[in-house]
């Protein structure tokens, strides 16, 4: 079962790498870092934020995929 779990983690890591491809748009030129590194987000507060531009949105996707990748790497370390 440990092997199964390891396989699962590898699969998910692959997924996260793919998701990571959702990087910053090529023509971005912007280097905005995610302000959501803290988990404790407030839904209502977030909904009040202005609508993201296409570039900002893609940047967010990239940030989140990197966060997931980081956590999956840590998860793998203990298996």
């Amino acid at each position: 079962m440990k092997i199964l779990f390891k396989v699962m983690i590898l699969v998910v890591l692959t997924m996260v790498l793919l998701a990571g491809c959702a990087g910053i748009a090529k023509d971005s030129g912007v280097n905005q870092k995610s302000k959501d590194s803290e988990v404790s987000l407030n839904l209502a507060e977030e909904k009040e934020t202005p609508q993201l531009t296409k570039i900002e949105y893609i940047e967010k996707l990239n940030d989140y995929s990197k966060e997931m990748e980081q956590e999956f790497n840590l998860l793998e370390r203990f298996l």
Binding site: L4, L18, D36, K47, Q51, L61, F72
Partner: protein, 238 residues
């Protein structure tokens, strides 16, 4: 799961699973641009599936239920399919650098390479509905006389027929079954119910086949058998 499960080991992994779930929860909070509504919905759906499967995984780790762990793994794979679908949608509208590289290779670069192999994944997204109705019809290879040698038939009612070269419509050497389209994986799933050889029903060697559709424009299709990796290019018989 290790034979001798340590509570600290479980707690550590659950802690990381919870952190991953906390990231997946952020997707629903994004105020995406209207032009990316469809993409955002796909990401949220995937994130929700990840969250659900990870919750099941954490529960399975806690209880030591191996069967539940297996189920959560299956769910996780499906969540990955949804994630890949969302990413495919994103790539269809934006040129994004590929992760793990030096940032110089982008999705458009890969698309250029794909096109040399006849692959156009955007055409699959753009030209095939979720129910795959555009796939219905007779498909085959064009012969020297300009006619089409029908190889596969996808009926609108879901019936499938497969023929050897120059056999259609003779069913003496044919495969009969059903087909369906999975828009998430952009794959054709074929189930072979009955196989005939020289007019005699024989054992079904491959009960099911999955064809990844690599390009589609309504009159031409390219698909790859995901098991054999053989590629098939057919034209529609009008």
């Amino acid at each position: 799961m290790p034979e001798k499960v340590d509570k600290a080991w479980i707690d550590l992994n659950i802690k990381h699973i919870d952190r991953i779930k906390s990231v997946t929860s952020k997707y629903a909070l994004l105020n995406a641009p209207e032009e990316m509504d469809q993409i955002h919905a796909a990401y949220i759906e995937s994130a929700n599936m990840f969250s659900t499967s990870l919750t099941s995984m954490a529960d399975a780790l806690t209880s030591g239920d191996n069967a539940a762990l297996q189920n959560s793994y299956t769910d996780l794979l499906r969540a990955q399919d949804y994630w890949n679908y969302a990413y495919a949608l994103l790539q269809s509208v934006a040129d994004v650098p590929l992760n793990g590289g030096d940032g110089t290779i982008t999705s458009d670069d890969l698309k250029s390479l794909d096109k040399k192999a006849g692959i156009d994944r955007d055409s699959v997204l753009n030209n095939i509905s979720k129910d795959g109705r555009e796939l219905a019809g007779e498909w085959g290879k064009r012969k020297a006389d300009g006619s089409i040698d029908v190889i596969v038939v996808f009926r609108e009612d879901g019936a499938y027929e497969g023929y050897g070269s120059n056999e259609y419509p003779n069913k003496d050497d044919a495969m009969i079954g059903t087909w369906s389209y999975d828009y998430i994986t952009r794959s054709l799933n074929i189930v072979n119910d009955t196989v005939y050889s020289s007019g005699v029903e024989v054992d079904v060697v491959r009960p099911s086949m999955t064809m990844e559709i690599q390009s589609f424009n309504g009159s031409e299709i390219q698909m790859m058998d995901v098991d054999s990796l053989n590629t098939f290019k057919y034209e529609k018989n009008n």
